[in-house]
């Protein structure tokens, strides 16, 4: 063979090898950056290219994503701007100032001769706009265009695949970060009860365990309460577990798999069942539910109160009448007479308690003007039995303090504060056990202080004590909901409830309510 012919043949062989190598590399490209790098190298091998810019968007007016290759420099940015119109490859001038500015910023210098090549993908998004911008040195850009057009089918397939991969990876990343950052424990277990996936909080609570969580319906963790839900997810396995099926010559009958489980004529799929465990945070809804139950109880007590009072009052009235009758008899000796007087006294006291209980449980649904001092006075009888061993000091403001409230609810609040004070001083094993309650005026506010000489509250807990389920008491003595609800009630009256330190050495709770003008109609609390 002549040397010239030999040389041409060698060149052709080299070119073909290079072409095959390029095709092979395109198929292996694992990212859009890889793809652009390959294209840049190949273009530069044959022509002089200053830079390649690959851009795409998922809609006509969607954000443009860019990858730029300029001598090995990769940049990926997003930008909104109008697409270059026209579906054909052509030389373009960057006329629009903002486009020119943008490309200059991305590439680090002004751009001039650009070939714009649209890519039409078959599968990735019908409205997807994809282009390659090639910046070139050579005089005749037609050769460059011809080169790209010869590779267009390959490039199109590669771009399609990579865009889908990019899209999937973005979605997976989004899903994974959302899954992990969820504020409620979530985990997926496979059909053998092995852990498949769990989010951060689940791993934190269950200490990275890999077996199914216990069947307890409620989970308590860091003062939150979670309710366990589990449900099955069926996942269809379209590929099956055996090797790929060879199509039969007749086109209908299918061969059995290696495992001896033939597919049906329609191609039955194998299903696997996963279990999802989701712990929903019910702390807030529990509080609301408890509030609702409390309200219902109060309402029921109010409704039943009248009937119950009658059922109790009637027999007591009978006892009292009979005792009065017996007392007036001259046949009684001194001692028996005294006993009968005690009976009369006891019954009278019982009647008084029934009356006060009715007063206490009655809740008016509307706000009205009441004297704060009177509300305190009406609450005290219910507390006195708790504080019989304490030094209990009451100091009420000399004038009425008119506030706009629902007296039944405010009584509940005052009762709760006094009950807490009693429990605090009860923990003191040595006298004196002191509780003080006083009212006053300060900055047009009616102020109520409840103080004790118990162990007090830490400064860091002054706000924490009003949080739901926060309690420093023995579990049998409180649910930790009283102060939270008390504050809600006071705030509903446009007032405030705060915790602090008492001069007695223990805790001090300060309730403040805006004062109403005294000449507005006030309601007599004695009938409420």
């Amino acid at each position: 063979m002549e040397p010239k012919v030999q040389k041409n043949l060698n060149n052709q062989i080299q070119a073909t090898k290079a072409y095959l190598r390029f095709c092979n590399n395109l198929f292996k490209a694992s990212s859009l950056e890889d793809f652009l790098s390959l294209l840049y190298k190949e273009t530069n091998r044959q022509f002089k290219t200053r830079s390649l810019v690959f851009c795409w968007s998922s809609g006509h007016f969607g954000p443009l994503q860019y990858i730029c290759h300029s001598g090995g420099l990769y940049k990926k940015t997003c930008h909104h701007y109008k697409q270059y119109s026209g579906g054909k490859a052509k030389q373009i001038q960057v006329k629009r100032e903002e486009d020119s500015q943008y490309l200059m910023t991305s590439l680090g210098r002004p751009v001039q001769n650009i070939l714009s090549i649209p890519i039409r993908t078959n599968q990735y998004g019908k409205n997807t706009s994809i282009r390659i911008f090639v910046e070139f040195y050579i005089k005749n850009h037609e050769i460059l265009l011809s080169f790209y057009e010869s590779f267009l089918p390959l490039i199109t397939k590669c771009v399609d695949r990579l865009l889908w991969k990019d899209h999937l990876e973005t979605s997976i990343e989004l899903w994974t970060s959302t899954f992990n950052e969820l504020n409620e424990p979530l985990a997926i277990f496979d059909e053998k009860n092995n852990l498949n996936q769990a989010n951060n909080i689940f791993n934190k609570i269950f200490d990275n365990m890999d077996h199914k969580p216990s069947s307890q319906p409620l989970l308590h963790w860091q003062k939150r309460i979670f309710e366990r839900h589990s449900y099955f997810v069926n996942i269809s396995n379209k590929l099956g577990k055996g090797p790929l099926q060879k199509p039969s010559s007749r086109g209908r009958k299918k061969e059995a798999t290696e495992k001896g489980q033939p597919d049906g004529e329609d191609g039955e799929k194998k299903n696997s069942s996963y279990t999802v465990y989701h712990y929903t945070d019910i702390s807030e809804s529990l509080i609301l539910r408890n509030k609702m139950i409390q309200n219902i109880k109060l309402a029921a007590l109010g409704d039943l109160g009248e009937a119950i009072a009658h059922q109790l009052s009637n027999p007591l009235a009978g006892v009292l009448s009979m005792a009065q009758w017996i007392l007036q008899s001259s046949l009684l000796n001194k001692e028996t007479k005294k006993d009968m007087q005690d009976i009369v006294e006891g019954v009278s006291r019982s009647q008084e308690i029934i009356s006060q209980l009715l007063d206490f449980s009655r809740t008016d649904s509307q706000l009205n003007i009441y004297d704060l001092n009177e509300v305190v006075r009406k609450t005290l009888p219910f507390v006195k039995s708790m504080i019989c061993f304490s030094d209990f000091h009451v100091e009420l403001y000399k004038k009425p303090l008119f506030v706009n409230i629902q007296p039944g609810l405010l009584k509940q609040v005052i009762f709760n504060l006094l009950k807490n004070a009693c429990q605090a001083v009860a923990e003191l094993n040595r006298p004196p056990q002191q509780i003080k309650i006083n009212t006053k005026v300060e900055d047009s506010q009616g102020i109520l202080h409840v103080e004790d000489n118990g162990k007090g509250i830490r400064t860091s807990d002054y706000e924490n004590v009003f949080k739901p389920f926060f309690t420093t008491k023995n579990p049998n003595k409180g649910t930790g909901l009283g102060l939270n609800m008390s504050r809600h009630i006071v705030e509903s009256f446009k007032g405030n409830l705060k915790a602090g330190r008492s001069s007695l050495g223990g805790a001090r709770f300060t309730l403040s309510l805006p004062l109403e003008e005294s000449r507005r109609q006030k309601h007599d609390i004695s009938n409420r």
Binding site: H310, S313, N314, P315, A317, G318, L320, S321, M322, W325
Partner: protein, 127 residues
């Protein structure tokens, strides 16, 4: 005079009976409205102590069905708070809220009604 006591509470009945007997009156006592009504028609009392809330027939129904022909005095009683401010029932001469402050004083007042012709009054004894 003839005194009729209609009340489902045993000790109320007994105490009123004792007081009435001690004054030399003839007394009948019934524990429900139905029996009370029957006795009322036969016994024809001068003074009736009538509870409001009773099984079978309540006080106001007994009073309405009795007709109240013989100018008898009717003392209506109740322990229910709903009636603590008094209740207007045609034919009632005196309303008393239970428990009575003093059963003997209350009976005295009721007795006075029979001796003096008074208009209906609404009287409640504070608890």
């Amino acid at each position: 005079m003839r005194v009729l006591i209609i009340d489902d509470e045993t000790l109320i009945r007994k105490s009123l009976v004792r007081v009435a007997l001690s004054r030399g009156h003839t007394v009948r006592a019934e524990k429900d409205g139905e029996r009370g009504l029957k006795t009322w028609k036969v016994f024809q009392p001068h003074l009736v102590f009538l509870d409001i809330l009773m099984p079978k027939l309540d006080g106001p129904s007994v009073l309405r069905k009795s007709g109240k022909k013989n100018n008898e005095k009717v003392i209506m009683m109740s322990a229910h708070r709903a009636f603590s401010d008094g209740v207007f029932v045609p034919g009632v001469d005196l309303f008393v809220s239970k428990p009575f402050q003093n059963v003997i004083d209350m009976f005295n007042q009721a007795e006075q009604l029979c001796f003096y012709d008074k208009e209906v009054s609404f009287y409640t004894e504070p608890v």
